[in-house]
């Protein structure tokens, strides 16, 4: 990315983070494709890159690229918000290389070593074998050090410059985000205790701190892209924080229905996870409201055309509002109550929800931030759509939606056959997984996965070329 238009070093660093994030995003999709092929052709890469390895890389790459893009987003918006250069930018740049190198080593070990003997050395150097946070312990410690460095920069900058509402929310949120990771770093023989704390990391990330993070990013986007009023946006942000943390923290209960934890989590989980869609509705309405208000005000001033200064980014922000509502809201709500979750827990339904929620809530807005960075790096006043940016948005969003629908149909078979009829035994599992709807669902998931990947190629093409395109207003 050209950077001669960037007067802040912080934004320059942000583009490094975004670039690395985009590469890892590609890796996530590639390993996802391998896993999807294995559902259709189980012999594919058997005992070379087994499903477990493909899936580890698929979901770890997901977490890593999102964390990189999140850190990048913060470095990008800090100078705009605080009005000063990020404090400790040199350390920030050093930590970027440390972080990126560590990720490469972890990935190579996953891929080449794969598994180890049942002892502590495996946990320290190969894999911890806990879904999403398989990273071995040495990497855990490294990640904590790197993220603490990043948070140090954020705090120093926020306190030295102007701490706006957005920066204040980010400062609190990022500290919680990093602190929670510590809950996932120990070993215990008690699998119930293990999963209890494991959910502290996973749930309090994706259903609390990450959601608040995107709330803050959406607020920044609305101010910079459509000129929304800061006071209004920041008031919304505080209301969203209250709603998200108010429902999300205790919404943790919906993961404690069946892992050995007491029954009272049924009521707590049901109540708070029923509240969880509310902030998502609110965030959706917030975008609609500000957009309507700003566009209306512009028309009243007699201005023609759109108030949006970055069309592709705004498209992804709108997709985020929809996707968060659909993926986390609708697909989350329909299997969250314990009465139903007893049958849906750990089926292809969960997978359908996971795909649409991670994409809808996080991938979308982070891609949007990458477009914001492209606009800034190239000194463009109004960034417009190109053929590739439109194709990318349609194909990626359509592909993920298609995968979700396919997995939902497969999940329905899984629930009815594997669970309700057969009681979740080995034989029941394979009965469920050899039904016609399940098999066709998996075929369609693969096809839609390919569509998503092609959309990703368009996205990368657009990232690399749109900055030089003549259609934009400079």
């Amino acid at each position: 990315m050209a950077s001669n238009h960037l007067k802040w070093e912080s934004k320059q660093l942000a583009t490094w983070y975004f670039t690395f994030a985009a590469i890892i995003f590609g890796a996530q999709l590639l390993f996802g494709l391998i896993a999807a092929i294995q559902y259709v052709m189980p012999g594919f890469l058997f005992e070379i890159v087994d499903f477990s390895i493909a899936r580890i890389l698929h979901i770890n790459a997901l977490v890593v690229w999102m964390v990189f893009a999140m850190i990048g987003s913060v470095y990008w918006l800090l100078p705009d918000e605080t009005g000063i250069e990020t404090v400790g930018i040199k350390i920030g740049k050093l930590l970027f290389w440390v972080f990126a190198a560590a990720i490469v080593v972890v990935v190579l070990v996953y891929l080449l070593v794969q598994v180890g003997p049942a002892d502590e050395t495996t946990i320290w150097f190969i894999t911890e074998g806990r879904e999403y946070i398989e990273a071995p312990r040495w990497a855990d410690i490294g990640i904590v050090v790197v993220v603490l460095g990043f948070i140090g920069n954020l705090y120093a900058t926020g306190m030295k410059g102007k701490p706006t509402g957005i920066v204040t929310v980010l400062m609190a949120d990022m500290l919680a985000f990093a602190g929670i990771y510590l809950a996932g770093m120990f070993f215990t023989d008690n699998i119930s205790v293990d999963q209890f704390w494991w959910w502290w990391v996973i749930h309090l990330w994706v259903e609390a701190t990450w959601e608040v993070f995107v709330g803050a990013i959406a607020a920044y986007g609305l101010i910079t892209m459509i000129g929304a009023h800061r006071k209004v946006v920041e008031m919304w942000l505080w209301i969203e924080v209250a709603m998200l943390f108010g429902s999300g923290i205790l919404g943790m209960g919906h993961h404690y229905f069946w892992i050995g934890t007491p029954e009272y989590w049924w009521e707590i989980g049901a109540l708070f996870s029923a509240l969880e869609p509310l902030p998502l509705v609110a965030m959706f309405i917030h975008v609609l409201y500000d957009w309507g208000k700003q566009q209306g005000a512009a028309h009243q001033r007699g201005e023609e055309g759109s108030v949006i200064t970055n069309k592709p980014a705004f498209t992804w922000f709108i997709l985020q509002a929809f996707g968060n509502f659909l993926g986390a809201g609708v697909w989350g709500f329909f299997h969250t109550l314990p009465q139903v979750n007893l049958y849906t827990h750990g089926t292809q339904f969960t997978s359908a929800h996971g795909h649409l929620a991670f994409f809808g809530a996080y991938a979308t807005i982070l891609i949007g931030m990458m477009y914001v960075a492209i606009q800034g790096s190239n000194g463009i006043k109004v960034l417009k759509h190109t053929k590739s940016s439109i194709a990318a948005a349609w194909m990626i969003a359509g592909g993920v939606m298609g995968m979700t629908v396919a997995l939902t149909i497969a999940g329905y078979v899984d629930v009815i056959v594997t669970r309700a009829q057969m009681g979740a035994t080995w034989a029941g599992y394979f009965d469920g997984h050899s039904g016609m709807w399940m098999l066709q669902g998996m075929d369609w998931r693969l096809i839609m996965g390919v569509v998503t990947f092609l959309g990703f190629l368009f996205l990368i093409k657009d990232f690399l070329s749109t900055g030089k395109n003549a259609v934009h207003i400079r």
Binding site: D50, G129, S192, I239
Partner: protein, 217 residues
């Protein structure tokens, strides 16, 4: 005309957000203390005295475990019964059983079990749920899996399968060879047996009742 209303005051919402977050966090921490007490592992004495723990001690491998409907709770619960031999013994000491469980739990992580299977319903969905795998009828003396391995007990059959999975394919989707040693396999089976004794509030429903005893119409 519009007076400064508290509802449109950023400070008010900032404080509200802080209070709501703080309150939710404190409630979660309080509940965590309560839950941690309830899910701490029981001891050998608990088992001998018939004290029901949500997560029994490792020496539960000395006993027979079944999964039965509890009418008062309205769902199935694991029931710990009489002594049962596990690899030929039913007198594992707390230390021996604890070591076996430790090895098995480490093995479950070192071999990335959770990235194909689900444990307590969490993990990947590419292979069967292992929560109550120990109680699966397929591994019983009349079951297809035990017959296939040619072993005489459930634990030996499971250990054999874990060591040489591709020798005993059941479906096109096979378990890969993960280099599991005989000792590790024994630990893993102990881990599975222990997991099946955890009180999971009735998950999975109707386990092992083929064709859904209650639903099959």
């Amino acid at each position: 005309m519009a007076n400064k209303s508290v509802w449109s005051d950023n400070r008010f919402w900032q404080r509200s957000a802080a209070w709501v977050t703080g309150f939710a966090a404190i409630l979660l921490i309080w509940l965590t203390f309560d839950t941690s007490g309830q899910i701490s592992m029981g001891s050998d004495a608990d088992l001998k005295n018939g004290v029901t723990k949500r997560v029994p001690g490792p020496t539960v491998i000395n006993y027979k475990i079944t999964y039965e409907m509890d009418t008062k709770r309205g769902h199935e619960v694991p029931v710990i019964g009489a002594k049962e031999k596990f690899f030929g013994r039913d007198d594992y000491s707390e230390k021996e059983a604890g070591d076996l469980l430790h090895l098995g739990k480490l093995g479950s992580q070192a071999k990335n079990c959770m990235d194909c299977h689900t444990l307590l319903g969490n993990g990947a969905y590419y292979a069967p749920d292992l929560t109550k795998a120990w109680l699966d009828p397929a591994w019983e003396s009349t079951g297809s899996m035990q017959a296939m391995t040619g072993k005489n007990t459930k634990e030996e059959a499971m250990a054999e399968f874990l060591q040489f999975p591709s020798k005993y394919p059941t479906h096109a989707r096979m378990m890969p060879n993960l280099g599991i040693t005989a000792a590790e396999a024994k630990g893993l089976v102990a881990f599975l047996k222990h997991m099946s004794s955890i009180d999971t509030n009735g998950f999975p429903r109707n386990f092992g009742k083929i064709q859904g005893a209650l639903n099959g119409k």
